[in-house]
Symmetry: C3
Subunit: 261 residues, 3 copies
């Protein structure tokens, strides 16, 4: 389960009750309920960074759903990599689904796989949790509703390559205040290969140059650094502190990797 | 499990250790540990809104216990609907137990179903978790202690019907800042039926009129709305934002549904 | 699992995915993910206060790891009490391991018990979670790497006994704002025995005297108190409120137990 419901309320807990009622043997793992409220992009990134660490065949039940009760579809996705995903068709599933390669998509329409009364505000409980549970119990994908050709896509900004620099942005701020960018290791590798022997420097919002290092431990406590994080994306961090606070920066902040003069 | 222990500390985790020690096969589901500290009323509402979504026979272990170490009883409740509940007898269980219809109540007194040392501050670990685990293992209800005729009741304010309006209040503020009121759908339905063809308007703390709509999507982003939430109670919300912040209002704020002129 | 990853991000969830991929039948219990960021001492205290409430043979997977990517070792510990512990060798495991009595320690070096690619920032996912899962699956301790003679110790301050007083400090502030000190019940008992018939008073940062009582209920709401908490350490609390806020005090605040004049 991945939601933006937080852990203050009983909403995520109620969804687990629904699952246990339908699929008593199903194991439920909380991926996170701490996605920033209604941030489809942050949820999509978290799911994309996580799905491949779970057993083949895992059902990902994801609910970040600002359009609940409106026109957006409810879908289930089967992928070539084996992962299955259930959630609103608003882009939330799209990054992970693309990585896992979409095989089939159906719209969740069949009344028998929903709760009897479907509210207009809590499809997590009334539509998505029952669908995931019935899927786990072996209901075939086609029985949930009509096939759909494609799912809504989320197109996060890609870094732009200029002659001697890469221009990207912060796409995720984690709970430690680390600033995860959209600048991937291969892009930086290509920039480096074009300028052999030159040093690369990172700046955020045009500020002072930050070194790219291999580990946090390469700089003293309180000092900023850039490193390729655990998901192979360039992260800006401050050792033993919050980079978000240090730089006063958050999502969408501009990040540049440039070749030193 | 439902507690006000939060997830910062290891308290809820220790309770799960106690349960696993006694009932290694029991499945534990976190309903929530985010009940506002010592708010018996908020915990009671969360439990009342949740229990029916769990499998018949589920044991609800609920601990919001400002009177720990004092005179309040520790109880286990069996209900006609099949749900069982374990917790302090301070009203926390009362709303859910009334809905599920109380069948038998016992006071948790038997030393063999408690930890050897019972602290004066952590009955969740020393009394309630062991009781829930032993109950799950099949210990008969009567073996825990003497029968009690009734449990402490919590009487949340009910909305008051005046000739052409309903006066209620906010009883729960959720993590999204939605303001859940004690005004239920049938009461509003009766008001509407008395004034056919007239529109109903909602106000909070005597402010501007808010429309009752079916879905969040009926209003633009940033606009307030009133709707019957997923538990059939009138909620005041702001699309894609926090109503608690928008209105500067919280629990006990006065809410009125009135017939337009 | 005990970490400082919080529940906002998907990091703890990804670790559970790794465990489920290696040991699908393993039951994972969250002890807490709310250890204050990078606070090895707070994590060590939480683990020390918790391990004995879990079934014999439980594997404790603990990650509070400011030195990730640097020189600190990754270890697994076997104890005479049956508990096994996996985590960084930075003192995090030391308090619990001493209580449970260390039997054998190995360094986690074997590549086959790690993920294929080990990042420099997320050993929780790449090293510790796989080790715990393989240990659960029955891999013998020696197969993980070379034996080590000892583990890093954390030496929390002990209270100092003066003639007619004990000087200690706050070592943990819990989510309710209770101030847990390092002053244990036996030390206070010995002080009391030296001055029969005299009353003991507690002060924090040299402030007003606080009574030692048996239960929160012994004082009126809003009043401060000192009591031996559920882990047999002196705690300073305020009934139905936060002592941390009331006293404006936190970790390392000086606490004195003295004999009244």
């Amino acid at each position: 389960m991945l939601t933006d419901f937080g852990l203050r309320d009983h909403y995520a807990g109620v969804m687990k009750g629904v699952i246990a009622s339908i699929a008593p043997e199903a194991r439920v793992i909380d991926l996170t309920h701490g996605v920033p409220a209604q941030s489809v992009a942050a949820g999509a990134i978290a799911l994309a960074q996580s799905w491949r660490y779970f057993p083949r065949g895992t059902i990902f039940l994801a609910v970040v759903d600002p359009g609940v009760g409106a026109a957006r579809r409810a879908i289930a996705v089967e992928t070539r990599a084996g992962a299955r995903m259930v959630g609103p068709d608003n882009g939330l599933l799209s990054l992970a689904a693309r990585q896992a390669q979409v095989k089939r998509v159906v719209e969740l329409k069949a009344a028998r796989f929903r709760l009897t009364r479907v509210s207009s505000t809590f499809h997590g409980r009334d539509v998505f949790a029952p669908a995931a549970a019935h899927l786990w119990m072996g209901a075939p994908l086609e029985s949930f509703g009509p096939r759909r050709a494609a799912i809504e896509k989320l197109e996060p900004d890609r870094p732009t390559r200029h002659r001697n620099r890469l221009a990207g942005s912060v796409i995720y701020v984690d709970g430690f205040g680390n600033l995860v960018t959209n600048i991937d290791r291969p892009s930086v590798g290509r920039l480096r290969a074009s300028f052999p022997g030159r040093r690369l420097l990172v700046t955020i919002e045009g500020g002072a140059a930050i070194r790219i290092v291999d580990t946090y431990a390469a700089v003293p406590a309180g000092a900023p650094l850039a490193t390729f994080g655990s998901f192979e994306l360039l992260e800006i961090a401050v050792r033993d502190a919050s980079a978000a606070e240090f730089f006063g920066a958050g999502e969408a902040a501009r990040v540049t990797v440039s070749v030193s003069a």
